[in-house]
Amino acid sequence: MEFDSNSIQTSNTYIMKKLIFCLLGWLVLSPQSTDAFCGFYVARADAKLVNHQSEVILVRDGQRTVITMSSDFQGDVKDFAMVVPVPVVLKEKDIRIANQLLFDRLEAYSGPRIVEYYDQNPCYADRHYSALPSMSMSRAETLDMVIMENAEELGVTIEASYTIGEYDILILSAKESTGLKTWLVQNGYQIPKQAEEVLDPYIRNNLKFFVVKVNLEEMEALGFQNLRPIQMEFESDRFMLPLRLGMANAEHAQDMVVYAFTRSGRIEATNYRTVKVPTNRDIPLFVQQDFGRFYKDVFDRSYEREQRKAVFLEYAWDVSPRANMKCDPCVTDPPVLADFKEAGADWVSGYGPDSDVFFTRLRVRYTRDKFPQDLLFQVTPNRENFQARYVTRHPAKGDLSCAEGGRYINDLTRRRQKEVDELASLAGWRSADYNNYIYEFMPQEWIPNFRERRNEVLPLWLKERFPNAPHWLLAIAAIVGLLAMGVIAKRFLKPTA
């Protein structure tokens, strides 16, 4: 259990400022819904939608890339082995050990969040606040590996070898895949069968292999229980993440969360669609109790809706030290200078415009069949803020027996009906019990008059089975219409003479 301490200290002036800001947001009519970013209390969904997920921090500044990898390896560290294709032979100073806490902080800060609003009692003014527990989970990860021999006979060149922290690191280049595969297998690296086929392309593409195992003695001497993230830095024109080597098989989906820092703006995939997760939706109050599961279902549905082949944007924000509003509401404290430095965004050193930095968080759930190509990224000048944010509203407290109160109850019931519909379309949660929530405040005798039937253009079963059906029908109709127009134009407008 943890509380958002800032929110508890909320003073009246703060609330006033916030309300004024909200009003301004309405008036200015900015491109994105600024007005929506006003709320007081938050909870967040944990990044771990699945048991196995990798997390990567990417920093891109010109040609320079810093990659920090946190694997969720679970098990005996001596079994850990990792092979990462890299574009250049890394020097010892370009490889560092990072702190796992950095991942935890970034994850907590940028995660999907729930926000609460409190309705005013229409019969008398009263504000009531309470803090909401946020969900968190522990993480555990570890790594491991083995020994190497007769590399040269196999056409494998050990370009460099370092011991850094608890890791023994080798950088290999290879002439052909069979030798490399043999070498890796001899040295205890298990290459997934599906991954073997990509060794050749990587070798031909002049990539080197960054090979990591755990040095058990060093680890004991250092006294760490878990394996810490590895960070590497290099200059390259290519801004990409090699996915294929780690892919197990077509059906088995793997999750990866990417936290990226750039000077100019968002990063996005260039060879897959980058799609925003649903955000700023009003959801029922009771979802607060189960927000982690809710977001997992929201993500699963979005993933299916995009035919499993999109990259999802979960967070994008200007986190420059000089920028005032880092988030609204903040789940945890925004990253500080030390965090940027640790992540490798070393240009962030003060409060001037030179230290501007933009934070993007992407989630990729990839399978072999839908992600045939490695992920290529580009840095864009897009500084539009985005957060996965879900809104809950507490009903007014106290006596609602005045005339205004009656109207309020009607509005509240209608609003809750919409929230329940939203819940069904977002997360697929449906239950007859939700009626109790909808009609919670409505006297029994009002209910029959209140229930209204809505008109649906498409039958509900179709919409439920294919949420995108209306879109597709529209698109198909447009194309058919165009074709028909073309055909008619040709038929009837031919010169008759």
Partner: protein, 277 residues
């Protein structure tokens, strides 16, 4: 009345406009693009004003080409602020009146505007991934409809470009690097590439007139795009390749003379008098 309406389609630019428009609708409804009205307005108004000024100064007529440019920009270019979009629109339309050879512009308008604004301001970008790989059939149908209507051997430009690129990519990706065919298919299902193939490089005014010369030229664009993709790591290489090779068009036209292309020429149009009868 229907005939009056259909007669609009005598000019292939009208069909092109409606296809570009429906691609935009497709993006909005099926791909959930956000409707950035401010950006579209920032493209449309300056573009139309520039076209109007150009028309006044040179005696040219019509706004259809300007609208095609506007739709192309809406589909391709993102900008971080409205002035960048406006600048791009002005450059795109302006270049038609300013940079000319032999009485004809040779830079593809939206191509020129996009490249100059990206390089000059750094505040604009193309999202090559925004179409995903599912848009393939939409493009194939739209592009096919477009090209069959234009006829006039323009299909050859698109085919020469895409076939050359496909040939080079398949040699590199499949036969040299050893990736599976799915990687190749994924590369070519890119909506941005298909948009370029069907709607940018096929522009009859800014491509060489001579049939064979045009095919060779389109293949040249493909070769350059291939080189830029793999040696400079430009993800939107075709657009850069086109702007680099565009100045060759007037030269090629001089070396290989052929009939000048007119949008309303009898090559593509049904005779109005037969319609009225």
């Amino acid at each position: 009345m229907i005939r009056t309406f259909l007669r609009l389609f005598n000019d292939p630019r009208v069909l092109q406009l409606s296809i570009l428009g429906s691609l935009l609708v497709y993006g909005l409804v099926a791909l959930n693009w956000s409707a950035e009205l401010w950006r579209w307005t920032a493209f449309a108004i300056p573009a139309l004003l520039t076209q109007w000024m150009g028309n006044q100064l040179t005696g040219a007529r019509g706004y259809k080409s300007a609208w095609i440019t506007i739709f192309g920009l809406c589909l391709l270019l993102y900008a971080s602020s409205w002035w960048v979009a406006a600048l791009c629109a002005i450059l795109s339309i302006g270049v038609k009146f300013v940079i000319r050879a032999d009485g004809k512009h040779f830079f593809n308008p939206s191509n020129f505007g996009i490249v100059v604004v990206i390089l000059l301001t750094g505040e604009a970008w193309i999202s090559p991934g925004q179409w995903g790989s599912g848009a393939f059939w939409i493009f194939a149908i739209g592009g096919g409809a477009m090209l069959t209507t234009i006829k006039v051997k323009r299909l050859s430009t698109a085919i020469a470009f895409i076939a050359t690129l496909f040939f080079l990519e398949s040699i590199r990706t499949v036969f040299y690097l050893g990736w599976g065919f799915d990687v190749l298919v994924h590369q070519f299902a890119s909506g941005a590439l298909l948009l370029f193939t069907f709607f940018m490089i096929t522009d009859p005014v800014t491509t060489p007139r001579h049939h064979v010369a045009r095919i060779v030229w389109a293949a040249g664009v493909a070769v350059l795009a291939f080189a830029l993709t793999h040696w400079v790591y430009l993800y939107t290489a075709p657009i850069y390749a086109l702007i680099i090779l565009s100045p060759l068009t007037p030269l090629i036209n001089r070396w290989f003379p052929a009939e000048k292309f007119l949008w309303n020429s009898t090559q593509i149009q049904f005779k109005p008098q037969t319609l009225i009868s």
